[in-house]
Amino acid sequence: MGTYVYEVMANVGEAITRNKQMLTDLDAAIGDGDHGINMARGFEAVHSKMQAMEAEIDIGKVMKTVGMTLISSVGGAAGPLYGTAFLRAAGPSQQKTQVDVETAGLMLGAAITGIKERGKAIRGEKTMLDALEPAYDAFMEGAKDGKSLIACLEVACEAAQQGVEYTKTIVATKGRASYLGERSRGHQDPGATSSYIMLKALLEFLRR
């Protein structure tokens, strides 16, 4: 990543904006119908912030800024959840200008722990964790096998995509969708979907 961190974030933001309507439609089916709008607003704010700090090369500081910006601009539950994730990812990347497989694994792990603590959620409740936790497990498996960062992210993205599919089969027990109970089954979780979109945008950028 290194000095590419701004371009990575820009790429992630573009992917979210491109999928704004799809995320909002998924949320309209089982939630309050604002996930895409909220996330796009958050990443637009991140984009403005990034332009103002482009001389910063400490990835940890950039992650922290991304987290704080999402917290104060997303508006829905995704704000504090993803915001906390980026704030936690700032820990392992502090004073780093490059991210290797080990650091990326630590960042992903810290981010997921943050989401679990903030949301008091676990896997299987039809949330972003159903994409992120399998992705993390696959990433760490790849890291153990000595795979490259890109190869680790490839298996992580595959696992996240399967996780998104899995959310269609289960009932929501966390968040606004839990009000729907059994009627939430059959629908794809918007939070799991946005998590997958972000991981995939990261992978696609690194493949270039």
Partner: protein, 130 residues
Amino acid sequence: MVGVVIVSHSQKVAEGIREMALQMAAPQQQVIAAGGMADGGIGTDAVKVSEAIIAANTGDGVVILVDLGSAVLSTETAFEFLDDELRAKVKIADAPILEGAISAVVEASLGSSLAAVVATAEGARALNKC
């Protein structure tokens, strides 16, 4: 006096509740509305909430009344931005936002402790209307 912060997705809701609660308040009572996003849109903003908590604290702590879902997440996130001393003196009341805010303000204006204000606010859950 324990401060009161009202966290709603809607700026209008938070300000309206503040206005109603202030009718019951002692003159020095702090009641701060932290509703909506910076652009006035619907949502909750943890940074705004943390600033409201700091503004509401006069040394005796702050009780926070919240509406739905992400209002809780944003408030808990806001706690992370507080210094340790203040963080030990803040509490979300598990209560209906309007009735809880009014109950909290009445109790806080008597000069009661944070624990007492939280208990009174949460007691608003049992209020019968008819």
